[in-house]
């Protein structure tokens, strides 16, 4: 008879796989939405919104006294859209730069959120630290019953958000693309530029809130920007960029989680580090490839030379 205790411990447990799946879902959802922020040169606004949703989350805690996702989602989405609205209103009427308006809006909302958080922490079990860093390692312990099997609650929510993101992106692809490239022309066609913008901001806020609990708000920022920015380095086409960003987001989450497991360190922190390594490495690779191509082309007519 073989003693079961002598069997080799599997490298990855089911819990590990679920945690990894959750990280992948969060990464891909944020990465896809983030592509549009990168394209609109609004990466900072993603940062702003993901911080500014804090008072919305804390407000939802204070009002309902629970950690249910739905009230948090509602509170954060409202605040997220308000952030986009306030920063553009300040920029328009406050006679300040867009950057300054954004900076003022999100730091003050974030500060308000921290104050509300510490107030809320007296009433419900809420740790401001876990909002910032997330609790990816605890994901498997909070499950819901789905199709007859226990699924981590975070994975179920993130999966739903990802599906909604993809459906909305497919339905409004034209509008997103036209308003991102040339908003004045899009408006002249009758496309509601402002509605598309607020819709995107609401999506950023919703993604942030659902992802923040598992991966933390700091990692959300990395996940919003890094996959899109990295993918953009490798392709000049929009649809390949979206696919590539999804792939990069998944790979980053998997590699980051495995590395964290191996080094016994924070998974969220490791994933953020890996995404940064991926971006910096890509910049280096693209610059090197570009330089090699240019030097090998010396003396020959360039293919990319503009025709008359």
């Amino acid at each position: 008879m073989i003693d079961p205790s002598l069997a080799p411990e599997p490298w990855l447990t089911v819990d590990d796989l679920w945690t990894m799946a959750t990280a992948v879902l969060a990464s891909v959802a944020c990465g896809l939405v983030g592509c549009w922020l990168v394209l609109r040169r609004l990466s900072l606004l993603g940062d702003a919104i993901s911080h500014a949703v804090l008072p919305g989350i804390a407000g939802a805690f204070l009002l309902t006294g629970t950690r249910d996702v739905l009230p948090m989602l509602a509170g954060a989405t409202v605040i997220g859209v308000a952030t986009a609205f306030i920063s553009s209103a300040l920029g328009r009427w406050g006679r300040v730069d867009r950057d300054a308006a954004m900076g003022v809006t999100f730091t003050s909302l974030f500060a308000l959120g921290v104050v509300m958080m510490s107030l809320a922490a007296r009433q419900v079990d809420l740790d401001p630290g876990c909002v910032l860093y997330g609790l990816l390692e605890f994901v498997p312990f909070d499950t819901v019953e789905l199709l007859g099997m226990p699924v981590p609650r975070a994975a179920a929510w993130l999966g739903a958000v990802l599906v909604i993101d993809v459906v909305l992106m497919l339905a409004f692809f034209k509008e997103l693309r036209a308003t991102s490239f040339d908003s004045a022309h899009a408006a002249s066609l009758g496309i509601r530029v402002g509605v598309v913008h607020l819709g995107l901001m609401a999506a950023v806020a919703a993604n942030t809130v659902v992802a923040f609990e598992s991966v933390g708000s700091i990692l959300v920022v990395a996940m919003l920007v890094a996959p899109g920015a990295t993918a953009r380095l490798w392709t000049d086409r929009l649809v390949p960029m979206l696919w590539l960003a999804s792939g990069i987001a998944s790979a980053t989450a998997i590699v980051g989680y495995l590395a964290a497991l191996e080094l016994n360190t924070s998974a969220a922190g490791m994933i953020a580090t890996i995404s940064m390594v991926g971006y910096v490495g890509s910049v280096g690779a693209v610059v090197t490839i570009g330089a090699t191509r240019r030097s090998s082309r010396v003396g020959r007519p360039s293919l990319s030379e503009p025709l008359p």
């Binding site: 394209l39 040169r41 009427w93 006679r95 339905a171 692809f173 034209k174 509008e175 693309r177 036209a178 991102s180 490239f181 040339d182 004045a184 022309h185 899009a186 408006a187 002249s188 066609l189 009758g190 496309i191 953009r232 392709t235 000049d236 086409r237 929009l238 960029m241 990319s304 503009p306 025709l307 008359p308």
Partner: protein
């Protein structure tokens, strides 16, 4: 035939400052009308006011006998080339396809016929060979022609263009003029902001001279006078080739 575009006492303000004051002007159908004036005269703003892209502080605009909202499908817009991010990951063909977005409406993507049509529009501006090229790899003139092709894709009756000739090469200028001529033959109206006064005199039949207020408007022969130019540009008009070459025109 009625006018293609009419401004009725249009004023536009940015914050508290009026950038356009009580503009009254009529642009006849099937004409080629240039909008000229110094920097900051409100030329781009006038185009945007016609399109409903900036709120009017006073007055109204009639587009092809209706409101802009009613006639949107009949109006093509060519914004300034500098107004967009040319690093955006998109091909020339995909930019042109955006001209079909208005008539496609919600939830429908361009199909094979739209694609063939977009290729045809690129052909008209001489860029069919570069259809798949990423837009940052095009020259400034080619980018301008891509914008024109996108407007052609809209199959409009009225084209509003913001500096379509700014910083373009001779080939592009000729290509654009040919397309505009062909459009006009078909009865379309062209309104273009233009800096080159000599070219306005040569190629356009109508002109609006603008410096926050409307200084002069009408057929080039009547409105494009030395006096009007001097009033529009101040003393600098003497340096303008179109005016200085023939100071007595119109008198």
């Amino acid at each position: 035939m009625q006018e293609a575009l009419a401004f009725h006492g249009v004023s536009v303000a940015y914050r508290d400052e009026l950038v356009l004051e009580r503009i009254d002007a009529r642009i006849p159908a099937a004409s080629m009308c240039a909008i000229a004036g110094p920097n900051g005269a409100g030329k781009s703003t006038l185009i945007k006011a016609a399109l409903g892209l900036v709120p009017l502080a006073a007055g109204s605009v009639t587009v092809l006998g209706g409101t802009m909202a009613q006639r949107r499908g009949d109006v093509g817009y060519v914004p300034q080339r500098e107004s967009v991010d040319w690093e955006f990951p998109i091909s020339a063909l995909a930019v042109v396809l955006m001209g079909s977005y208005g008539r496609l409406g919600l939830f429908r993507q361009p199909g094979r016929t739209d694609r063939a049509q977009a290729m045809d529009c690129l052909e008209q501006v001489g860029l069919a060979a570069l259809a798949e090229r990423q837009i940052s790899q095009l020259s400034g003139g080619q980018q301008q022609r891509v914008f024109l092709a996108r407007a052609l894709m809209q199959r409009a009756r009225l084209y509003l263009m913001d500096e379509p000739f700014a910083g373009v090469d001779a080939v592009t200028e000729e290509a654009i003029m040919n397309v505009l001529g062909a459009l006009r033959q078909r009865g379309c109206t062209i309104v273009a902001v233009h800096h080159d006064l000599a070219a306005v005199r040569e190629s356009f039949d109508h002109v609006l001279l603008l410096n926050k207020r409307l200084v002069a408007a009408g057929p080039v022969a009547a409105a494009f006078t030395f006096d009007a130019l001097q009033q529009t540009y101040g003393g600098r008009a003497a340096m303008m080739p179109g005016a200085a070459s023939d100071p007595a025109s119109g008198h």
